[in-house]
């Protein structure tokens, strides 16, 4: 029998039992759509989380930890493939205090290599980079961190009598531009919280650009390496003889050129004996978790498909029973058992295929609707502004999911059509012909 005639044959039978086939297709559709939608929520949440993580951090950053980080090691790391920048920062680790026009801040002083910083995304909002030991760049939020210490104390006194209003009262902050200003910077003993009494003068020549994320505050004082000797000598003089704590604590970040290369850079660093942390590790963990979650969801969805397969099994069994005489005649005329089997398998495959196609289309529609409607509902429940800036995707249907669901649905349709089809081939010609019309 030609393939086209086989399809004709199947179509003819389906047309004769429209309602029954329709109901079976409906069940197959519901099962498959359920699977796709369920799993799509897994994909959606994963995507939302990934986006959240990638948005909030420097994705190409690899944090490197080791006890003995130094500039030479930083130089070495620059040679690793796909490394874009190695930012070696030395942060003052002891008590420190800055005073500008009577305003105070305890912002940390950091010595860094501005060339590498620039490659890693550091930029100035105004001014220029420091040229000598007396010049510094301050973070975007440095000015905001300045406050009037004496006013603060009186305020704390009033706060005791009236706690509620004190929180909302604005702090007496510094309101002038800090660029061009010179301030005093002094080091002190951490334990005693007391200055060594040897202040130095630093001039602000530049202000760093605000960090990409508005919840990250940058009130650091960025100084050139030229300042190190002076600070070291003040520190050495101020601290007791037996002090072993260094003034600076190092902090090293390696930046890969692309997100894809973070992993390889991480691996090289690990092999070199460093402890590293990068976003790719976190993403890996999330991906593993979601792989398990999605597998679980697909499994649950598959159960729905299995339930719908009972419908296909029933429909096909009915179809075979109903057509026993016709099958007998076909066999008597010379239809081979294989052909009979194929005709019935085609029919169940067609039901499965139709159910799958409709389910895929339906799932995309439901998914789109859910992503459109659900944020509005949740937003309304949480109050307008609470949710509006959260970018949540509830459901995503990637092509892999469509492929997996279709494969499962079609396979289940074929399997549930298998026994009825076998039954059709085993029909005895003589018995079938004996059946009354």
């Amino acid at each position: 029998m030609q393939v086209k005639d086989q399809f004709d044959f199947v179509r003819q039978h389906i047309r004769k039992n429209k309602l029954r086939v329709f109901m079976t297709v409906l069940a197959a559709t519901m099962g498959t759509a359920f699977l796709i939608i369920l799993a799509s929520v897994g994909f959606g949440i994963q995507d939302t989380l990934r986006k959240e993580i990638l948005d909030n951090r420097l994705v190409t950053q690899v944090e490197v930890y080791a006890a003995d980080l130094n500039a030479e090691k930083a130089e070495e790391m620059k040679k690793i493939d796909h490394v874009n920048a190695v930012v070696f920062r030395q942060n003052v680790g002891t008590w420190q205090k800055s005073e500008l026009d009577g305003f105070t801040t305890y912002s940390q002083l950091t010595v860094s290599d501005f060339k590498e910083e620039a490659k890693a995304g550091f930029a100035l909002a105004e001014g220029r980079l420091p040229k000598n030991a007396q010049e510094v760049v301050v973070g975007h939020d440095f000015a905001a961190s300045l406050y009037d210490e004496s006013a603060e104390q009186t305020e704390q006194a009033t706060a005791e009598s009236d706690e509620e209003t004190s929180e909302s009262e604005p702090q007496p902050a510094y309101r002038e531009a800090v660029i061009g200003k010179t301030f005093t910077y002094e080091l002190g003993n951490f334990n005693e919280e007391k200055s060594f009494g040897q202040p130095i003068q630093l001039t602000i020549v530049g202000i760093a650009k605000a960090p990409a994320k508005d919840f990250i505050q940058d009130s650091r004082i960025y100084a050139d390496a030229a300042v190190i000797p002076e600070l070291e000598s003040i520190y050495a003089k101020g601290m007791p003889e037996d002090n072993e704590e260094p003034l600076f604590s190092a902090n090293l970040n390696v930046y890969a050129d692309k997100l894809e290369n973070v992993k390889s850079v991480t691996q090289v660093l690990k092999k070199d004996g460093y402890d590293v942390y990068s976003i790719s590790e976190e993403l890996d963990q999330i991906d593993v978790f979601f792989l398990a979650l999605k597998a679980g969801l697909i499994f649950v969805g598959t159960i729905a498909i299995l339930i719908s397969s009972i419908g296909i099994f029933n429909t096909m069994t009915m179809a075979v029973t109903e057509r026993t005489r016709e099958i007998g005649v076909m066999k008597a005329l010379g239809a081979k058992p294989k052909l009979i089997q194929r005709l019935f398998l085609l029919e169940s495959a067609w039901i499965g295929l139709l159910g799958t196609v409709i389910a895929v289309v339906l799932s995309y529609a439901i998914s789109m609707l859910a992503n459109f409607v659900l944020p509005m509902i949740v937003g309304a429940a949480l109050g307008e502004d609470g949710f509006s800036d959260l970018d949540v995707t509830f459901s995503i249907i990637p092509w892999q999911l469509v492929l997996i669901a279709s494969a499962i649905s079609l396979a289940v349709a074929m399997i549930s059509g298998w026994r009825p089809a076998r039954k059709a081939t085993q029909i005895d010609v003589i018995d079938a012909l004996r059946q009354e019309l």
Binding site: K331, A335, K336, P337
Partner: protein, 232 residues
């Protein structure tokens, strides 16, 4: 053309575990010449249909061999048997056995479809045959829109469409009135003459049996030539 040798067949009846064999065919041998019309008569339950089923390959005999045109068919598996039937045999049944969902045209076309013949060739061949057996007027009718005689004509046309050398007929006129019976018999006779088709006809009816070149009588599980002849 067809040779049956030492055919034995029995059916098992009774409840499972307590079955007992009921022998129906007992060492039956017979031969059908090419181009002949052979009829088999005998009492109801004597085993005529059983013999036909064995000859056609619907049923395997317990023992004995069937040879058709030099090919031993009694050893065939289901698939080979089906292929052989499609190629060599045509069937006419008492209750026509037409497909209720197919029109006259489509019913006659069915064996050609099974053979995998292309649509255009099928169309030409079916139309030609419709002409020959006088069914053009009802080509788009479904079986339930046809008279018994017309239905049997359709079933004969279906048997003829593949041009088989042998046609088996089990009570071909059993459901028809005598006038229609005459028409069908005339058609069979003319097909035998013009196309040289071999017919094996099973019947109760002496008039039907009378068109045969040889009449076999089924009795006690074997065939005897020159059976009862009450014609006239």
């Amino acid at each position: 053309m067809i040779t049956a040798q030492h055919i034995q067949h029995s059916f098992k009846i009774g409840k499972k575990g307590k079955e007992r064999p009921v022998p129906v065919l007992k060492d039956l041998s017979f031969h059908v010449e090419k181009g002949a019309i052979v009829s088999i008569v005998g009492r109801s339950g004597s085993g005529k249909s059983t013999l036909l089923h064995i000859l056609a390959g619907f049923l395997k005999p317990d023992s004995g061999t069937i040879t058709v045109d030099g090919t031993v068919t009694s050893d065939f598996n289901e698939t080979d048997s089906a292929a052989f039937r499609l190629d060599r045999f045509g069937f006419i049944f008492q209750n026509f056995q037409l497909m209720p969902g197919l029109t006259t045209f489509e019913n006659i076309e069915l064996p050609l479809k099974l053979k995998g013949i292309s649509r255009t060739v099928r169309k030409a061949e079916v139309n030609e045959l419709l002409q020959q057996v006088g069914l053009q007027e009802v080509r788009d009718h479904y079986p339930n829109e046809l008279s018994g005689g017309q239905q049997q004509r359709v079933s004969i046309a279906r048997a003829l469409i593949t041009n088989p050398p042998v046609i088996f007929a089990d009570e071909p006129t059993g459901s028809l009135d005598s006038e229609t019976e005459q028409e069908i018999l005339a058609l069979i006779r003319s097909l035998n003459r013009t196309r040289g088709i071999t017919f094996v006809i099973i019947t109760h009816d002496d008039e039907v049996a009378a068109i045969a070149d040889t009449i076999y009588h089924m009795h006690d599980g074997v065939l005897a030539a020159g059976g009862v002849h009450h014609a006239g």
